[in-house]
Symmetry: C2
Subunit: 144 residues, 2 copies
C-alpha cells in the first residue's frame, strides 16, 4: 500500500485530477490546509464534517504520496506531526474557490465565509500570493 494506485483512467486532465481528488473527503482536507491553515491531525478531525480518523489518516497518506503535502515532526512537541501544503496543493485554491461560488449560488443550505470569498474575488493573484508568502515563512520557522 506504499504507492498510490497510479493507473489513470484517461489522459483527460479532468479525469486525471479526479483520480487524485475525486471523492467526498480529499478536497475538504485541502480546503482546511489552504483556507483554514490547519496543520495537525486533530485540527482536521475538528472540522464540522467530522471525518473518521482512519479515513483522515488514509487521505493524509495519499496526499503525501501525491506530493500535495509534506509531513514533518513538530520541533516544539515531538509527538505532534505538522502537515504542510505544497505549491501543488495551494494551486488548488482556484478550483476550490469556484466550487465555493457554485455551492453558494445553488445550494441553499450553504453558508459562505464572506471575508474569504471577498478577498479572493477582489484580487485572486494577491490572495494567492499572500498564501504562498505566509507558507514560505512557516516553512522557514520550522525547517529541519
Amino acid at each position: 500500500m506504499t504507492k498510490s494506485s497510479q493507473i489513470s483512467r484517461s489522459s483527460c486532465p479532468v479525469s486525471c485530477a479526479l483520480d487524485i481528488l475525486g471523492d467526498k473527503w480529499t478536497l475538504l482536507v485541502v480546503r482546511d490546509l489552504i483556507f483554514f491553515r490547519k496543520r495537525y491531525f486533530g485540527d482536521f478531525q475538528n472540522s464540522p464534517e467530522k471525518i473518521a480518523t482512519n479515513i483522515l489518516s488514509d487521505r493524509l497518506k495519499k496526499l503525501e504520496e501525491c506530493h500535495l503535502l509534506l509531513r514533518r515532526r513538530d520541533p516544539a512537541n515531538a509527538r505532534k506531526i505538522i502537515y504542510m501544503p505544497t505549491e501543488k496543493c495551494v494551486d488548488l485554491a482556484p478550483p476550490i474557490m469556484e466550487l465555493v461560488r457554485w455551492g453558494a449560488k445553488y445550494v441553499p443550505e450553504s453558508d459562505v465565509h464572506e471575508n474569504l470569498v471577498q478577498r479572493f474575488e477582489q484580487d485572486p493573484l494577491e490572495f494567492m500570493g499572500e498564501i504562498r508568502l505566509s507558507l514560505r515563512k512557516e516553512n522557514e520557522a520550522n525547517k529541519e
Copy 2:
C-alpha cells in the same frame, strides 16, 4: 431510492458542492455534457474512461434529482432519451476549467484539448455565453 440523500455534512459550500459532485464519475458526466455536448446514454458510455452502465444510469438519475439535467424523449427517435444540462450544470464550467488547468499543470500524463482551454482562457464570459446560447437553441429545437 427515489429521493437523493439530502443530508449535507456541513454548511460549508465546498462540502455542500462535494455532497453532490464528490466522486470519481459525476464531474466527468458533467464535463461530457458541457464541453463535449454529449446528450445520449451511449455517448457517455463511449467516453475514454469507460464508465459502467449501472453507474452511469445511477449518476444520470442523481443529476436529474439535483436539477443538473433534464431527461427528455428524442422527438426524432422514441427509443432515445436526451439528457440536457441545465443552467446549474453549465455553471460548473468554471470549476471544471480550473481543474483542467491544475491537471494540465501537475499531472504529466494529462493531455489537454488546447482549443477548449484557449477559448475559455481568452474570454471566459464569451465562452460561457456561447454555451448558454447554443443550449437555448437546442432547447427550442426539441421542445415538447
